[in-house]
């Protein structure tokens, strides 16, 4: 089990902002590290595109239970937006080495404090 907890339980971030948080883990199988990624993915009519903008590694030290902090840098863009054909969703995604356990948390990256609607 993986759980992403964002600092100050925030959901919306500005471009260039540092996203901080903690990952709590209680793993079924030991993993030496947990990778936390800041990714965007598209949703809508088109074939899905996705991209990893930043990444942070939490070392578990072989332990199956515990927690670790992460820091990710939000890039300039793209902004979280919702259109008729395309939407861009930002998320924090974390997983074990073999990706047997993964967890995702949706966030918003936008200069106006909310998802843009076109």
């Amino acid at each position: 089990m993986l759980k992403i907890i964002l600092k100050d339980t925030r959901k919306c971030f500005q471009p260039f902002e540092v996203i901080e948080g903690t990952v709590k883990y209680n793993l079924n199988r030991p993993s030496s590290e947990i990778t936390v990624d800041l990714v965007w993915t598209t949703m809508g009519k088109g074939t899905t595109d996705d991209y990893r903008a930043d990444s942070s590694v939490i070392s578990t030290g072989g332990s199956t239970r515990g927690k670790g902090k992460f820091r990710l840098n939000a890039p300039a863009g793209p902004y979280s937006f919702s259109g008729k054909l395309v939407s861009v969703i930002w998320m924090i995604s974390c997983g074990t080495e073999s990706d047997t356990e993964i967890e995702e948390k949706e966030i918003i990256i936008s200069p106006i404090g909310s998802e843009l609607v076109v």
Partner: protein
Amino acid sequence: MATRRGKSDQNNQGSVWFLRLFALMWNGILVLMFVSMFSKGTIPQWPMLLFLIPFVAVGVFLIYISISPGAALGITGSKSGVPMLESQANPAGASAGQRELKPVSTPGKNLWGSLFICLFWNGIVSAFVVFIIRDWLQGKQEWGLMLFLSPFVLIGLVILYGVFHSFLALFNPRSKLTLDTNMVRPGQTVTVRWKFQGNAEAMDSLKITLQGREEAVYTRGTSTYTDKNVFITIPVIDTKSKSTIKSGHASLKIPEGTMPSFDAAHNRIIWSFHLHGEIPKWPDVQDEFLVSIFPVTPSDLKAIKYRDQDALKTLEMKESDEDKDDDEDLNAQNYFKRH
């Protein structure tokens, strides 16, 4: 096992290699056919050569898209999704300069494109038409086949008209569009300058707009489709003045809080200027110029933050003043009620 996002191969390498293999096979078979035809020592009859033109055209097209697969498969764009410009490497220096926008297509490209389609379509259809005419001259009238071919011949004629139309458009005045900045961002006011070379007096009116549209590329079966949706159209100029048509400039404000350009492999937000010059009894000038709208910079964000804070303070002050007024009104009402 679940797969995590952000790890997909955006260049669709599998499809690209399949395409290259297909191009190799197609052209290989064509070469073998030609070698076997000519090795017999007899020159093939011209209906046969006509019939082969579209297959050769497809072969050439396959070679072209194998070399440049991105555009052909509709998979372009930067991996990060944020548009890249040569100027982005040095935005501070670039922002001071002007930027001449490149048209998406030119009359020459349009002519070659329509000529290619025309050769492909009419090459196949003409082979059948030749057979029908030959039979007709020999006294055999295949009415069923003629009826069946009629719509294909009609489509061929429309495509031929398209070639003629594109040819006439070669003689149209050529437009040039320049922006006063290299880095356009939401909330920014930009000046657009246009200039025509050639017979600009032939145009009766000129309309320039800035359009924002979404594009989604998707595959159904073996075909790739692109859906488009225009979400904003900002008028720049709509004039009938001959002098303004020939050259001029106008300012426009990029809306604040709008979505900047987004350029992924299959999904895009595209901003472009559309220029429409009307020429009576002649193909109109219709050009599209792509423009990249970049995300805001950290300094812009600070400005937005401070402005929002100022706006919030003003709102709070206004609200507290209104509250005070309300309180005073209420107190006055109560006073009058009591007395």
